[in-house]
Symmetry: C2
Subunit: 298 residues, 2 copies
């Protein structure tokens, strides 16, 4: 209930919970998504946002390019057939708490957060009217996508910054509060390109309640209201599940390596699906039988 | 039976199998081990090789520095108190099949393989009298250690070369036959420093019968005759267990990402132990109770 536009009418009540599903789709994009060729990821966003009938808001708060980032994505989304494209460049908390800014989101069917610095995003819009307006649209069924810093900010707990390297170590990553459209996970981006296994493992060692999602560049996880994530794009999403792991993360000092043992890991390329709630991959035969299933060749 | 020198008399019959253990200890070193400060790793090798009563053979076939690599390690091992140090620089198969070269190993209590190019090592000494002499000394109880390329060559199946990056992809690593002192595993080195998660995951996807061991620089796995590996040094050993994993590795084409799902992963810093045969970590309380247990602070 409360779904306010028809484009997401495929979102049926969740069988898992029996409740009426009212949330939209979340896209976590690992950064550097293709903008000029087949645009698989941005095209999927445009389709989920409703195409010609869609209203897409681009939030470029994280970007160091100022309004230019919003302009660039505006051109792309217009090129992908979106009827109304609206860049919003809130750069202060005063702006983010200005009802005039928040009103620009009120009819959005798609909201896109650019890359940049996720701490700038959280410190500027966290807890403001603008953040509340985004969540409201999401609950009404809008698709909310973020690339790079924007992807990190999707979860409730986000990696604010950190060190690279494959081995988990103490003090490797700092957390901050994200927007919370995708709770219970923690997203890392540019995952394979920036060698971020270690920092994601160290965060999972300290926070096994969160499911770690490492998204490669030009790759996205598309999470539907049922909590099932489909991978699209050129790379993989690496899933790190520490639910059954043992660790000494609570007693390690300085920058020493952290022990983590019994982590379950999945590396899923395009076309594979993973149930984030049950923490298990959806077997491929079932996947092919899913209505609307869209199995890319790997 | 068959144990020919007293220094390894601490190797009691294995409780797990009940059989008399006749193999020596293997050390897989991730490269760039400390040579000038506390020398934890090289010091452990020197101790296992018998100290003053020890006979250490240094095999520098892999090195591009020619006999210099052997000379450098000779100085170090003499400095660590080894009584007899003997560099052997076999650079052709004719030398490696020369009984005079093989005889230089005949009384070794420790054999150390330098870094360099593991394919040079396997192609020069694989299947020769020299390789046979090394295996013979190992079976008699000698410690066999390898650093970097030398570590890779310890297993029966070794990574010959490959690409870096965190995401497993098809054709990411090429295999070759190693020396086989540590079968049933596959070793990768400079693991965190060279971003080698992807290539080790891709090899495990294709070969789940092998246990993946990614060894960081200045870090070593010390594997006793009972198949239990102790981690020492500054970094971690990452263990990748694909026994229960699902994969599409058999059907992926080109250089596309490989799906692997359900891998069990362990990142173990200094002081932790792992049973390579049972594929499980030895819990820390038991560890402290082990005779000779040497739990470094992490």
């Amino acid at each position: 209930m409360g779904r306010s536009f028809g484009i997401l009418s495929r979102n049926v009540p969740s069988k898992a919970t029996g409740r009426q599903v009212t949330d939209g789709t979340v896209m976590i994009i690992g950064g550097a998504e293709d903008k000029v060729r087949d645009r698989v990821i941005l095209g999927r966003f445009a389709a989920l946002a409703g195409g010609e009938d869609g209203v897409v808001v681009i939030l470029s708060t994280a970007s160091s390019f100022g309004p230019l980032a919003g302009e660039r994505y505006s051109e792309i989304f217009r090129g992908l057939g979106i009827g109304t494209v609206r860049p919003v460049h809130a750069m202060t908390r005063i702006q983010a708490n200005d009802p005039a800014f928040a009103r620009q989101v009120r009819d959005a069917t798609g909201i896109f957060l650019t890359g940049g610095n996720q701490l700038r995003l959280s410190s500027t819009i966290g807890g403001t009217l603008l953040a509340e307006a985004i969540l409201e649209r999401f609950r009404a069924g809008a698709v909310v996508a973020g690339t790079s810093a924007g992807a990190s900010a999707m979860s409730s707990h986000m990696i604010a910054f950190g060190a690279s390297g494959g081995t988990p170590k103490h003090r490797m990553a700092a957390l901050a509060a994200g927007l919370g459209v995708l709770p219970s996970v923690i997203v890392d981006q540019h995952f394979q390109q920036r060698n971020r296994y270690g920092r994601l493992l160290s965060v999972i060692a300290q926070n096994p309640s969160l499911l770690g999602l490492g998204v490669d560049e030009d790759t996205a996880g598309v999470v539907g209201p049922d909590g099932v994530m489909e991978v699209i794009g050129r790379g993989s999403v690496t899933i790190i599940d520490g639910a059954e792991a043992e660790t000494d993360a609570w007693e390690v000092k300085g920058h020493r390596p952290v022990m983590i043992s019994g982590v379950v890991l999945h590396a899923l390329p395009s076309g594979y699906r993973f149930d984030l709630r049950r923490r298990q991959r959806i077997a491929t035969p079932d996947l092919k039988a899913l209505p609307g299933g869209n199995v890319a060749s790997t």
